[in-house]
Symmetry: C2
Subunit: 280 residues, 2 copies
């Protein structure tokens, strides 16, 4: 588990932006991820913010377009961006952009041919934090998580299932209920059993309905997002949080779409919001 | 000249990031460029900052990775990023990354087969400003220019040849003297006459030696840039400015390389520096 290969490192925003590769036991493949480490006092351990990416993305999209480094350097926060699925010739795939490679949906697949490699839940919940904790100066008692679209779904569900691990959770245009949208039905139907009860552990609204709780939540959602009505359905999350008494700041941002032009606009606010909650 | 096609527009950082296409008389091709327009009072005309990109780039690199929008929105500055060469099947090319498409060097080529299309000097100096002035709310009395590497060379030489047009000029890791580096010798030797006297109009240090002046200059150059010693030779610009009495703030940035991880780090400072000089 512990071997880590440095793919590239760049000085950036008074820190180091790196890309790293390792052999993952969870997925049975090599996995690549990026880490930004701001300059810090020798021996210091910094809080860490996880960013889970959306459909078709790798670590590279947010690393290049996310505009998080200035804010992370200002607040002394380490930023980790994992890949969205296993990769490689041995890994099964689907022709569609929303299933297979680039579309892991942060689940542990139970159906063939996916079960062997598609273990993104275990990877993000257990393997990668241990690896990052071993190789980078992170304080694992101070973790926050965010993500975009499918990665917003990942951030919400992982935080709801692991409330003790995360002090803060936010999301950009998340899929809030895979049970209630075509992307979710296809992915969870394919990776998991057709039994929709098995999907509830991977559905933010269902987890909340079933009693999972987080203390606070920040969500930004563009009103010009083409996926809002059909796939994202932010209203379901607003309802679930209201019913559960979760203090959710869910902001509809006028005219913004689903792209990194939207994400980068609000990234600094998210980093700052997490940093407040991750302070000692 | 006046027809402008909108390729895409995105709401971003309280403004609109667009990509546009038009038929260029200078290059005899379609040309694509990006423009960021911050929100502004109706009827207001904003200052404009031109960004010229480096070898292999199009408008897209800085548009996606440049991290300029937050600062441009804060200061009310329009940001325009042109392409680096003509494009299209009719346009001659070279196998190398540093000649032909993606490597226009901001010259008006005089040699065949380049002379027909490679007129990037005329395009940036005359055609594009007129087009941008017609279609966007820019105040053409308040223009600044910057760029990276080959585009830093472009920014410096265009500003030195047109001091009345620009109130401010800066550069990121510019090629400061094509007369004295392999990239420059290959490009100017190919696009222009083998007579090196003809190159002096496209060499920042030679222009300064020959009497061209600008009031101020800001340059950032990474010390970890692999091209520093062989191609960029920042020291020649420092010498030329000292000799000419040009107030140049040329900053060697410890450990930074030639990538957009470097550019994005110092972009906000450059935008702010230009904005000060472009205030009414």
């Amino acid at each position: 588990m512990s071997a880590l290969e440095t793919v590239e490192e760049h000085r950036s925003h008074s820190g180091v932006q790196g890309v790293y590769r390792h052999s993952s036991a969870s997925t049975g493949t090599e996995m690549t991820f990026s880490v930004f480490v701001p300059d810090h006092a020798e021996g210091a351990k910094l809080p860490v913010l996880w960013f889970l990416s959306g459909l078709t993305c790798t670590h590279a999209n947010v690393t290049e377009k996310g505009e998080y480094r200035a804010a992370c350097a200002e607040h002394g926060v380490i930023f980790v961006a994992p890949d969205t699925s296993p990769r490689g010739e041995d890994v099964p795939d689907d022709e569609a952009y929303d299933f297979g490679k680039g579309a892991g949906f942060y689940v542990d697949a139970t159906q063939e041919p996916w079960a062997r490699h598609f273990a993104m839940r275990s990877y993000i919940e257990r393997e990668l934090p241990a690896l990052v904790g071993k190789h980078f100066p992170v304080d694992l008692d101070r973790q926050g998580i965010t993500g975009h679209s499918m990665g917003g779904h990942g951030a919400l569900t992982i935080a709801l299932r692991n409330p003790a691990r995360f002090r803060s959770v936010s999301a950009f245009s998340p899929i809030v209920s895979p049970l209630n949208c075509p992307w979710g039905e296809k992915a969870l139907g394919g990776y998991l059993s057709p039994d929709r009860e098995a999907w509830r552990a991977y559905d933010a609204c269902a987890l909340i309905d079933d009693g999972a709780r987080i203390d606070h939540l920040l969500v930004d959602q563009g009103t010009g997002d083409d996926f809002l009505e059909t796939q994202l359905k932010t209203g379901l999350l607003i309802e679930a949080c209201e019913k559960a008494g979760i203090a959710a700041d869910i902001r509809m941002q006028d005219g913004y779409d689903h792209s990194y032009y939207f994400i980068s606009t609000f990234m600094a606010e998210h980093v700052s919001w997490h940093a407040e909650r991750l302070a000692r």
